[in-house]
């Protein structure tokens, strides 16, 4: 057995026994670490859940993972900003590996008018069969009938706008917009169904009718579309598919949801910022507790440290012994904290219903139900950073321990 190994063993034994020596103090420090880790893990899972919810919602709310549109339509969603979408190009899209759904749409900014009120809306011409479960446009209406096909000339409205228009299913409303020749185009629609959405603004703004109905109304040609929304399989590479789509539509803009929804991306970033601040608070408070309790224990053990040094333990090992104490505490606290965090996440695995206590959430674009998502790389990062920084912090008390002057400390008493 080498000298190094057996010295390491006795040092570890000393460290672990010194931790247990003052159970109250150890328990206090341990509690700080556990609470800190558990809360950070749970909050990280919640943040991931919120972010996922935001992304899912915005993708579901007609953004899709990718969208093909006229390069200028992001700036100005005018009727004439169409894309050249011949049937073979649209079919070729479906052949790209990893593509889950291809959703062609015609979009018109419009005004809707009932006998009493009028409001600005965005009218989508959709193929209800394709939209299916892939977007809010294909969502089964909560009231009335869904669109039957692309030629369907009825109107589907959100429940909020129906309320505001003071109308109901079966009544007629007038939708007014501009056609491709810049002529006023208006048309009466019968309200066939009402949908509900996670976010109120969707219910206010989005209205749907059949793709071909809107095409006729706007006098668009057969191969003209305003956008094609693409959904991809979860494991597919978005940039890769984006490249292939761009090849099929060289003149159009092919944008990812991140580019289309910068707000969602920045909200996720802000949220991560808060999470980092919380984590820093945890590290600082748990770290201070740890360093403080180590300092106290070193002041109590000055004589003992002097004895170990007098007996031949070098300063390096005295430093190691001290650092090891905090390392062991952090590892144990970290593990229990992770288990605690997992338990909390599990408690809410059915989702947290925000609608009861957070009306504002839906306005901020967050859906009503948040399902926390525990991601292992987050957990490893949290615990790893805490252990690394805590251990680093304990170098200070350890250095103090190594400065104990044996001659002076053993002088009397």
């Amino acid at each position: 057995m080498t000298r190094l190994w057996s010295t390491a063993l006795v040092t570890t034994a000393l460290a672990s026994r010194n931790i247990l020596r003052n159970p109250r103090r150890t328990l206090l420090t341990l509690t700080a670490v556990i609470v800190g880790v558990a809360s950070t893990v749970a909050l990280a899972a919640l943040a991931r859940g919120v972010a996922q919810q935001l992304v899912d919602d915005s993708i579901y709310n007609l953004t899709g993972h990718l969208k093909i549109q006229h390069p200028d339509s992001a700036r100005d969603p005018a009727v004439e900003h169409t894309i050249d979408a011949r049937e073979e190009s649209v079919e070729a899209l479906q052949q790209i590996p990893g593509v889950h759904a291809v959703l062609p749409r015609i979009v018109a900014p419009a005004v809707i008018r009932s006998e009493r009120e009028s409001f600005p809306i965005t009218l989508f011409g959709v193929d209800p069969g394709l939209e299916g479960r892939n977007s809010v446009a294909g969502k089964a209406v909560s009231n009335g009938e869904n669109l039957s096909d692309s030629d369907d000339s009825h109107l589907i409205l959100g429940s909020k706008i129906v309320e505001k228009l003071e109308t109901r299913i079966g009544r007629r409303v007038v939708v007014m917009t501009q056609d491709i020749e810049n002529e006023i185009a208006d048309r009466g629609f019968r309200i066939e169904g009402i949908f509900q959405a996670e976010v109120q603004s969707t219910e206010l703004l989005f209205s749907f009718t059949g793709l071909e109905t809107l095409r006729k109304m706007l006098r668009l040609k057969d191969d003209q579309l305003h956008e094609i929304s693409i959904l991809v399989e979860p494991e597919a590479s978005l940039p890769e598919i984006q490249k292939q789509v761009q090849k099929l539509f060289p003149k159009a803009a092919v944008l990812t949801w991140q580019e289309l929804q910068p707000l969602v991306v920045s909200m996720t970033k802000i949220q991560n910022g808060f999470l980092i601040i919380w984590f820093l608070i945890v590290i600082v408070s748990a770290g201070f507790g740890l360093v403080n309790s180590l300092l106290m224990s070193i002041f109590e053990r000055v004589r003992e440290i002097a004895v170990m040094h007098a007996l031949g333990m070098t300063r390096v090992w005295i430093v190691i012994e001290t650092v090891l104490q905090s390392f062991l505490l952090l590892v144990v606290g970290g593990l229990i904290g992770v288990l605690g965090g997992m338990a909390i996440v599990r408690q809410f695995s059915g989702g947290i219903d925000l609608s009861k206590f957070a009306r504002g959430a839906s306005i901020a674009g967050i859906g009503d139900r948040i399902v926390p998502q525990l991601i292992w790389s987050d957990v490893v990062l949290v615990v790893g950073l805490l252990i690394a920084l805590g251990t680093l912090g304990s170098l200070y008390p350890a250095w103090l321990a190594a400065q104990v002057n044996p001659a002076r400390s053993l002088q009397r008493l």
């Binding site: 010295t7 026994r17 004895v307 031949g312 333990m313 053993l410």
Partner: protein
């Protein structure tokens, strides 16, 4: 194996609230391997300081401390610690066992730092604990033992690794005379059989009687150096 101790014009000065204290003042002494020496003198005469200088727990302000071929005061603190580990055993006035270790583990501690194999270590620890009459208490922690028992463990710890030199700072000061006598006999025997060099500081007449060399200190200086046969 055995090493002589040589002090050459060793001084150790302390600044104590603006006053310069000459704890050890220009001391030159040589201790041959296997000597059994007692340092005595009034309180504050520099006994502890001298032992600390020899053990490398402290460094002289001037002069040189040599043990065998090694000049202690040029070594780094870690090198001195390693030198102590291999060559010097310490016994302190107030036991100074490591509280979180049992009697046996305290005795094993030095051997463990030396890398002695665990089975050999344990056997040796039990053997020396037997020698000081504490084999039965080997699993007790220091706070479960009397002062005398703790000091016997400290002696066992010092002798277990068979150092060349044992430095003992008033080892019997807190012991009753019977226990002190037993321990002294043990140390005398080790001195004679193993040729370990013993250097005591003491106020204890009993200790002085057994010593073959008596060095009297006063104000950090050697006042008298007497050998007996």
């Amino acid at each position: 194996m055995s090493r002589s101790i040589a002090l050459e014009s060793v001084s150790r000065l302390y600044h104590q609230a603006d006053v310069l204290v000459k704890a050890v003042s220009d001391v030159s002494l040589t201790f041959e391997p296997g000597e059994f020496t007692t340092l005595f003198g009034p309180s504050g005469s520099g006994k502890t300081t001298l032992l600390n200088l020899i053990g490398g727990l402290d460094v002289p302000t001037s002069g040189q401390v040599r043990i065998g071929e090694t000049v202690m005061n040029v070594l780094s603190p870690s090198e001195r610690a390693t030198f102590r580990l291999n060559h010097i055993g310490f016994i302190f006035q107030s036991y100074n066992l490591i509280p979180v270790l049992s009697a046996r583990e305290n005795v094993e501690f030095v051997m463990q730092l030396q890398g002695v194999h665990s089975a050999a270590r344990r056997e040796r620890a039990m053997e020396v604990l037997g020698r000081v009459g504490l084999a039965e208490l080997s699993d007790r922690r220091p706070d479960q033992m009397s002062g005398g028992q703790q000091q016997r463990v400290a002696v066992a710890r010092a002798i277990a690794s068979e150092p060349d030199i044992i430095l003992a700072d008033e080892p019997t000061a807190n012991l009753d005379s019977k226990t002190a006598a037993d321990l002294l006999s043990l140390m005398q025997e080790l001195n004679e059989v193993r040729k370990i060099t013993f250097l005591f500081s003491t106020h204890d007449k009993q200790v002085m009687e057994r010593a073959r060399r008596l060095v009297r200190l006063r104000d950090g200086k050697v006042e008298n150096d007497e050998r007996r046969s």
